[in-house]
């Protein structure tokens, strides 16, 4: 497995956010992480990117121990994250937001090629190239932060609720982009979503978290048909 987290525990002061979660992502896979509010999804991603230190457990990525590495080194190892709530650099232009995404890279020609790829994938960003990122719509900002993460040329892409607060039509576009990125750029994806249906449709495998622990896991196709998943995560829409 490319990424392997084992028995992760994370506490914030007195809140037990994650209690013994193990999950893995294989090379080329798209893995979904679903679950209700406060289940610990964001906390798991923060542990992988080094923004929050696990209290115990082990995170391995291509043989390296991530849980002792600084966030800026984890990016260099090949993991990029699209954080919850987008977090564009609001007073920087679209262009500068994309360029800072490649901050960890030193291959200038490669960066230009990636920039072309990102602008080709999200033509909207090209139209808004000089605009301050903070003045763009939520959907445009989401494209921007996905583009920003791609600029790092990651081998593993972590996405935290890319559908949050975005018009339904755009959610479809974003979902298609994630599939395309996984397929064309050979990037493995770990996708956190509250829109469980979308996440299960575009992923190979999935984990469902409930109050800090893995409640269910398996192939996404099967989970989509699972009665417990339907009841707990897919609502009455089926």
């Amino acid at each position: 497995m490319q990424l392997e987290a084992t028995e992760i525990h994370v506490n914030y002061d007195h809140v037990r956010a994650v209690t013994g979660v193990s999950l893995s992502v294989g090379e080329g896979e798209t893995v979904a992480l679903i679950g209700a509010n406060g289940a610990g999804k964001t906390t798991m991603l923060r542990a992988i990117t080094g923004l929050t230190r696990p209290d115990s457990g082990e995170i391995r990525y291509e043989g390296h121990r991530l849980d002792t590495m600084a966030p800026n080194d984890i990016v260099r190892a090949g993991i990029a994250m699209v954080p919850e709530g987008r977090r564009v650099f609001p007073y920087m232009s679209v262009k500068d937001n994309l360029l800072i995404g490649a901050f960890a890279r030193t291959d200038k020609n490669g960066v230009n090629a990636t920039l072309e790829m990102v602008l080709g994938r999200f033509p909207r960003l090209k139209e808004r190239y000089s605009q301050a990122a903070g003045t763009m719509s939520g959907g445009e900002q989401q494209m921007l932060v996905i583009g920003r993460a791609l600029m790092a040329k990651p081998k593993l892409l972590l996405l935290d609720e890319p559908s949050l607060g975005i018009a339904p039509k755009l959610v479809q576009d974003i979902a298609r982009s994630i599939v395309a990125i996984n397929r064309d750029e050979k990037v493995s994806v770990l996708l956190v979503e509250q829109n469980s249906r979308m996440a299960l449709r575009i992923s190979h495998r999935a984990y469902a978290l409930a109050t800090g622990a893995v409640a269910l896991e398996g192939a996404s196709k099967e989970l989509l048909q699972d009665d417990r998943v339907k009841r707990l995560y897919l609502g009455g829409e089926l």
Binding site: T49, L51, A70, P71, N72, V75, R76, A80, M81, P83, R87, V88, F89, P90, Y91, M92, D96, L99, I100, G101, F103, A104, R148, A152
Partner: protein
Amino acid sequence: MTEQVIVNGIYSGVQYALIALGLTLIFALMNVLNFAHGQMYVLGAFVTYYVYGVLGLPFWLALVATALTLGIVGVLFEKFLFRPVLRRSSREESSMLLAAGTALLLESLILIVFGEKHRGVPSVVSGVIKIGDAYLPMGRLLVIVLSAILIGGFILFMQYTKPGRALRALAQDREAAQLQGVDVGTYSMIGFAMGAMLAGMAGAMLVAISGVNSGLGTWISIKAFIMVMIGGAGVVSGAIVGGLILGMIESIGYQMLPGGETYLFIFIGLIIFLAIRPHGLMGKPWG
């Protein structure tokens, strides 16, 4: 006479902008109000006094020595004082008190090393030019030109270089910047050093015109706070605008109120202004 007021205002204003720029950079990056900014300015003046005035080396060499000294002071301040405190305490008063402490420390050190006398240096250039009805000594013109170059250079650096982008990103969203691979420790240090350098360079120019003494620091810090309040904290354009406005108001005040009430009116005006516009003219987190 009005032309003289404008020329004087620009002369003070560009130096003030330089001072405010350093203060606002440190504030934006670390959320620290650098109380020692005025003392850094005074230290810069004394280094230039020593290298140019005492050792008799060229003025440009004194400027380089000043930049290096203040850069080192900035690095030491960030690494050994602010970083440990900010890591251990998220309460804002901790870094505030530390900042006040560093101001007192630096002032005492300057007093011990350079003494309490007012010090000046020989003119760097001589001559006077006339602009309309206004007189502008060449020394002051040099200060205006050098300050403008430094301000312009700073803006270009922040806007168009990779480290500049990293500093802006860090100021706007610390965590998101880390996720792009920006090392918070290194870049906070670079930012603090640059802020200290800007203060020191302004001081170096001051000593070339009107001399320096060890007691000036606190007053300069207060002026820098005023500029940042006028322009908006943490905003590059705000620091520049705030500096130019303060320089101009001061120049007008000194002309019209020879009795020394200028700052009384500036403070009253500032309080009314802040009540109406608490974020200053350009108030936003970072520009």
